[in-house]
């Protein structure tokens, strides 16, 4: 088994999941409901890049930038016209609304672009060989983009006043208001960045593979697992969670379990026992179960102020 290849694969998976999960965790930290439409924003962002780059022939980087900003604005509109109305309706009503919205977006996409997948307009080439592992140019860009977005967001949160206000609002909305922080503005900013990050994550997946209307449907469970593992509502937890899921999915299949199981004397499996690939989705759930057993709050405990 080529460990470097597995490592590269893990990092790419983590980068793609991470951006979307950060957005989801962010909106949860302040709005306190599970936004199922979040992953559909990722798909919509990916389709917009297709529209700009392939259909209209724009520059690829510009297409990514514009799509991300548009989706950020869509996030503002979603808050203004839909979710703001549920501010005092508990957490179930907005969650159901988000489910309905997710289905609407998914089928809207299908109505516009059709059920077939689309790919961005660039030539697929064999990857560069680095330490025996293949990594393509787009994948290198994907890692750079994801890491830059995460570092940038970290700096915003830690070193700026508005970032601190975002953390404060997430920790305690009432107290933030008592500090004359305009929490409505903070909430809008959270929607903008959260939805923009989802779009960027979706775009990176589209860049790496392809986009179809069911991308969101396939993403929703892994993304929620990432958020659960990291600690619901924690942005840094989402990053850690995405690394855990990315590595678990790739290393979980690569690993030879025979020595481990034989060591415990449970069974004699011979020299090799690989986890069948059919269990790949289950690896994610196993990680969720194991981590929640050890830490019921997820890796990063969300402090109640």
């Amino acid at each position: 088994m080529n460990i470097v290849q597995v490592l590269v694969n893990s990092l790419i998976t983590s980068a793609e999941l991470g951006l979307i999960a950060i957005g989801l965790s962010m909106t949860f930290s302040i709005l306190r409901f599970a936004n199922f439409a979040h992953v559909e924003s990722a798909v919509l962002g990916a389709y917009l890049v297709y529209l700009f780059n392939v259909t209209l022939g724009w520059n690829f980087a510009l297409s990514i930038l514009v799509s991300t900003l548009i989706l950020g604005t869509v996030g503002l509109a979603l808050h203004r016209f839909i979710f703001r109305r549920f501010a005092n309706s508990g957490d179930i009503t907005p969650m159901i609304a988000s489910l309905g919205l997710a289905i609407t977006i998914r089928h809207g996409i299908q109505a516009i672009w059709g059920p077939q997948h689309v790919v961005y307009d660039y030539e697929v080439l064999p990857g560069n060989k680095i330490f025996g592992a293949f990594i393509t140019d787009p994948q290198i860009w994907i890692l750079i983009t994801a890491v830059s977005a995460m570092v940038g967001f970290h700096c915003l949160l830690q070193y700026t006043r508005i970032g601190t206000a975002m953390r404060a609002t997430a920790a305690n909305v009432d107290l933030a208001q008592a500090c004359s922080i305009d929490t409505q503005k903070v909430i809008l900013l959270v929607w903008f960045i959260g939805t923009g990050f989802a779009a960027l994550g979706g775009i990176l997946i589209g860049w790496d593979t392809q986009v179809d209307p069911y991308l969101g449907f396939n993403l929703v469970i892994p993304i929620f697992c990432v958020v659960l593992i990291g600690g619901v509502g924690s942005v840094y937890g989402a990053i850690i969670g995405s690394l855990i899921v990315g590595f678990a999915q790739n290393f979980g299949l690569a690993f030879n379990y025979a020595p481990l199981i034989n060591l415990f004397g449970l069974l004699d499996l011979g020299d090799r026992f690989d986890l069948p690939a059919a269990y790949k989705p289950a690896i994610t759930y196993m990680a969720v179960v194991l981590i929640l057993l050890i830490r019921p709050t997820g890796i990063i405990r969300k402090e109640v102020s």
């Binding site: 006043r161 206000a165 404060a168 920790a171 009432d174 208001q177 008592a178």
Partner: protein, 235 residues
């Protein structure tokens, strides 16, 4: 003119009215304590004055302005301050960041200067400046909560049960801090169940019972009124 004038105020949660017509006033420089048994509406009352709950009837006048329809943020910017009973600090933020949030409306320079003043007032906080607020002791948290609320130099500060959860010794210390803040010119309204401690530093007191004012008068008068003590304040 009173700093704060409340007339025939009604409010509550949805259809469930808790405050049934309260008249209330605070003069500049006073320390006023609101007393009353659990469920008498004390916290609901100050949440309404601060704008977290909507008044269904009646009005709130602050420094001559009718603020009945104002949002909490607007009232804070007019100089009201509030320290909730629980959840009164940002636990994931550092001590310094907590103070920065308290002074969110200040300019960068004013904020820096003000943080130094708060550190001078509560030197303990300076030692803990970079620590996460969640790692502070109970007493330190109360100091931070107060420092955070004092950042924008409020004219009228509301404290919801400042001695809750503190040891008797720490509660005494907290009251000492409140008194010294009051003596520097900040008007203070305290909601308390711990009667003696709060009244001992107060000028006046209100006794709330089932959402109405049952008694109002100088702090000393309440402390010495046997009837009130026995009926509402548990001896």
């Amino acid at each position: 003119m009173a700093l704060l004038q409340v007339a025939a105020l009604h409010s509550g949660y949805g259809a469930n009215e808790i405050i049934h017509g309260v008249d209330f006033h605070v003069e500049e420089g006073e320390i006023v304590t609101i007393l009353g048994p659990n469920g008498s509406g004390k916290s609901t009352f100050i949440k309404t004055i601060l704008g977290y709950l909507k008044a269904t009837k009646g009005g709130v006048t602050y420094r001559g302005n009718n603020v009945t329809g104002h949002s909490p943020t607007q009232r804070i910017s007019l100089g009201m301050g509030y320290i909730p009973q629980l959840f009164n600090i940002f636990r994931p933020l550092s001590v310094r960041a907590n103070l920065e949030m308290g002074g969110f409306s200040l300019s960068k320079q004013a904020m820096r200067a003000r943080i130094e003043e708060i550190f001078d007032l509560f030197p303990r906080l300076r030692e803990r400046a970079t620590q996460n607020a969640g790692s502070l002791s109970g007493g330190e948290r109360q100091l931070l909560a107060m420092g955070r609320a004092l950042m924008p130099l409020p004219r009228l500060l509301f404290l919801d049960e400042p001695s809750a959860g503190l040891s008797p010794k720490m509660a005494d210390q907290a009251m000492g801090h409140i008194k010294s803040v009051g003596s520097k010119g900040t008007t203070i309204v305290i909601v308390e169940q711990n009667v003696r401690r709060a009244l001992s530093i107060s000028d006046r007191g209100y006794v709330f019972v089932t959402g109405q004012v049952e008694f109002e008068g100088p702090a000393q008068a309440i402390l010495s009124d046997r009837r009130i003590r026995e009926a509402y304040l548990g001896g």
